[in-house]
């Protein structure tokens, strides 16, 4: 009986192990081998003006928190409609992954870009965290209470990420900058 349990458990363990290994190996390989065009194609179109409107409601162009009377005027429902709800936020999260891969793409030829790529990766992880919190809140029905804060923070992070990726490509003198600007 014990040997049967062992055989069943070992078979399950091995199947899971090999399945997970293959899944992530192929995912990493796809990501590492992605061409410039493939990366650009993966970017989901997001209205940049709306992103800028949400971001500039909270911070200045230089990234400082706004403290004037006009700041933080957008309420949760306005941010929700400007962003397109949770779907919009998920699109933003997916784009973040592409932005990280774009930085990693540049790093293939210019390893010095690693420091920026790593920082951008941390930004993307921060956005993932905010979106995760909002998804959790959506499941418990508390999304309205937390949407404004988390979503706006995610948008501000995303807004600066796009600017920094463009700057990175600009500073490295990469020829595909114009295409990237229009894709973003």
């Amino acid at each position: 009986m014990r040997s049967t349990y062992f055989a069943v458990l070992a078979a399950l363990f091995l199947a899971t192990l090999i399945g997970v290994a293959l899944h992530f190996y192929l995912r990493a390989r796809r990501s590492a081998g992605a061409t410039w065009e493939e990366l650009l194609k993966r970017l989901i179109w997001i209205d940049h003006d709306r992103i800028a409107a949400i971001a500039m409601d909270a911070v200045t162009e230089s990234g400082d928190r706004r403290s004037d009377d006009e700041s933080f005027n957008l309420d949760s429902s306005t941010i929700w409609s400007l962003l397109g709800g949770l779907e919009g936020l998920e699109a933003l999260e997916k784009n973040c992954q592409v932005l990280v891969e774009l930085a990693a793409y540049l790093q293939r030829w210019h390893p010095e870009a690693l420091v920026v790529a790593e920082q951008l990766r941390l930004n993307a992880r921060e956005i993932e965290w905010h979106v995760g919190r909002l998804k959790g809140a959506a499941q418990t029905g508390n999304i309205q209470a937390s949407f404004g804060d988390y979503a706006q923070r995610a948008v501000v992070t995303y807004y600066f990420m796009t600017r920094h990726v463009l700057e990175l490509y600009d500073r490295a003198g990469f020829s595909g900058l114009a295409e990237l600007q229009s894709a973003l």
Binding site: Y5, A28, A58, W109, R121
Partner: protein, 258 residues
Amino acid sequence: MQLTGFVRFLWAACFLGHILLLLVLFRRDRARSFPIFTTFVVFNIARTIVLYLTHRFLLGDAYAHAFRFFLIPDETLQFLVLFEVALHVFRPTGVWARDVWKTFAGMACASVVLALPLMWLALPSTATQARAIYVRGVFLCALLMSELFVSMLALSATVGLPWKTHVARIAQGLGAYSIVCVVTYTISNYFGNETQIFAVLATIRSTAYVVCEGYWIVMLWQEAPVPRELPESMLTQIYALQRQVEYDLTRIRTWRRS
């Protein structure tokens, strides 16, 4: 202890493989980047020499005792090689990536928790208690190695940390070999460890390791893609940009809507 012709061939191939691998590591200047992996290779060369001399000149159970004696440093070094790979992957800028360390430690603990029941369930039919402990020990190590390898693969893909060429090749070789070990140890634990199947499975394992050595030799001989050099002014700008991105993130974290 009698060795068949094919086992002798595997033994020789494994020894030559390690010598070649060591030459590649020094000739291509990889030893500096992978000191633990290099130590692992040196250890294997020394072990093979000692085991050969034991087998050739000593009688009785001397070879079996010597073989088991080398097991602990061998398994320890394999874990350390995996840790060296983790250092390369999860410390892209020289310090542990902030979002990775806790998850990595958690995954290591989870690997132990997952492997222990499987090891406990394994009922090796061995002649002595000491042999049973040995069989369970190597099975546990193989389980842990394969789990850690897959966990690292999953974690790096999830957090978006790419594997550099040679790091990936070392890890893939070791990971694939540890999965072969899990499969063969599982089968031998199920069918018994004193049978003909055990000898066949041991030969499969050795063959897999020789293939793995060949893979390392070829891959570590090849150069990684040559990066383009950036002018000093651009480098300064990139470092300034990194500071700016970091600063922005810190500021965004601290503000509140009200």
